[in-house]
Subunit: 206 residues, 2 copies
C-alpha cells in the first residue's frame, strides 16, 4: 500500500474533479472501515488510513475531521449518536435512565433507523471483526459521551452495566422478537426498564 | 422422504445393530433439527420427524421420549436446563432473581458449558432459522419451567423482561466482552443484576 502513496486525489482523471472527489471519499471510508475492523480504534491512524486510500492525510482531515468523526462516518449510522445523546444528558440526573431509554427507543422503534443498527449489532455479536467495531462504537460514542456529560462515580462499571440492560432489550425486542416485550408500548418499556438503568447509573454500589 | 418410510432401524445391515442404532439416532436428530428450525416447535410432529428420518414414530418415542425431550436432544445442550432450573425455583420466591442469576453464571462462566451455548445464542441473534430455535428453547425450557414452578402474576410479560436483562448480560459479558462487566466476579454481577431480575419477576407492575 505504501507504494501507492501519495496518489493525489486532485490528480486529474477522466471523470473530472467531482467524480474523483466522491471516489476518494469512498476509498478513504473503505480504508477506514478495514483499519477500524482490523486494528481497532486505538490502532488506527489518519496517516495509515490515508496511505491505504492513496491520499494525503490532510485530505482525510479535510473530508472527515477527527478520528472520531472518521469512525462515525465509517459506521454510516442512520442518526448521529452525539445529537441523540446531547438530548439525553441535558436534564435532571435523577431521571437520566428513563431519558436514555426513551431516546434509545425513539431511534430503535423506527424501522428506518433500526435496520442499519440491527446490521451493526448482529455483526458485533457474531464475532470479529464486527465485535471490535461495535465495542468501539459503544465505548467511544455512547459511553464516553454519557460519562463525559454526567458526573458518574465509577463510570466504566456503570456504563457497562447499562449496556447489559440495553443490549438485552435490543436482543429481546428487535432480534429475537420475544413477546410480549417485542410489542410493548415504548412508555411501558420505560416504566419497567427505566428504574434499572437509573440504578446502574446513580445508585450506591451494592 | 415419504417414499423411504418405513425403513426399519432394525433392518440388519453390514455394521450390525449397534451401528444401525447410532445412525438412526443421528438421522432422527438431523430430521428433528431441520423440522424445529423450519417449522418451529408447534409445527413439528414426532410423526413428521420419523417420516423424514425414515423410521417408525414409535422408535422416535423410544429413543427420545416426548417432543420436549426430542427438542432438548436436538439442541445438544451441555447441561440439562431442567436440572439447572429445578435448583433455581426451589427456595424463597423473594430471592428468586439472585438464584436465577447465580445458576446462569455457573453455567456460562465455565468455558466448557459456555461455548456450545454461545453458538446457539449467536445463531439465534443472527436471524432465521436460529432465531426460531433459540426463541423456542427460551420459551419452552427456561420460561415455561420458571412460570410453572413459581406463581408469577402475568408470567409472559415478566419472563420476557427477565430475558431482556439476561440476554444483555450474555451479550455484554460473553459476546462483546465489554469491560469491566466481562471480568466482574460472579457475586458482583449478582449484587448488581439480582435486584433487577427480582423486580421483573415479583414487583408490582409500575
Amino acid at each position: 500500500m505504501a507504494g501507492e502513496w501519495p496518489v493525489s486525489a486532485k490528480e486529474p482523471g477522466p471523470r473530472g474533479p467531482r467524480g474523483v472527489g466522491s471516489d476518494t471519499r469512498a476509498d478513504i471510508l473503505t480504508a477506514a472501515r478495514m483499519s477500524f475492523a482490523d486494528k481497532g480504534f486505538a490502532g488506527t491512524t489518519i496517516r495509515a488510513v490515508a496511505a491505504a486510500a492513496g491520499v494525503d492525510p490532510a485530505l482525510v482531515h479535510h473530508y472527515f475531521g477527527t478520528k472520531d468523526d472518521l469512525f462515525l462516518a465509517a459506521l454510516e449510522l442512520p442518526v448521529d449518536p452525539r445529537t441523540v445523546m446531547a438530548g439525553v444528558v441535558d436534564g435532571d440526573p435523577a431521571t437520566l435512565g428513563p431519558r436514555l431509554l426513551r431516546a434509545f427507543l425513539g431511534v430503535w422503534d423506527d424501522p428506518e433507523t433500526r435496520l442499519p443498527l440491527v446490521a451493526l449489532l448482529r455483526a458485533g455479536l457474531a464475532g470479529e471483526p464486527g465485535r471490535t467495531i461495535l465495542e468501539t462504537a459503544l465505548q467511544r460514542i455512547v459511553f464516553a459521551f454519557l460519562a463525559g456529560a454526567v458526573p458518574l462515580d465509577d463510570a466504566e462499571r456503570r456504563t457497562s452495566l447499562v449496556a447489559s440492560q440495553v443490549l438485552g432489550l435490543i436482543a429481546a425486542r428487535y432480534l429475537l422478537r420475544l413477546e410480549p416485550i417485542a410489542s410493548m408500548p415504548a412508555e411501558e418499556v420505560v416504566a419497567w426498564l427505566g428504574p434499572t438503568v437509573q440504578r446502574y447509573l446513580t445508585a450506591p454500589t451494592p
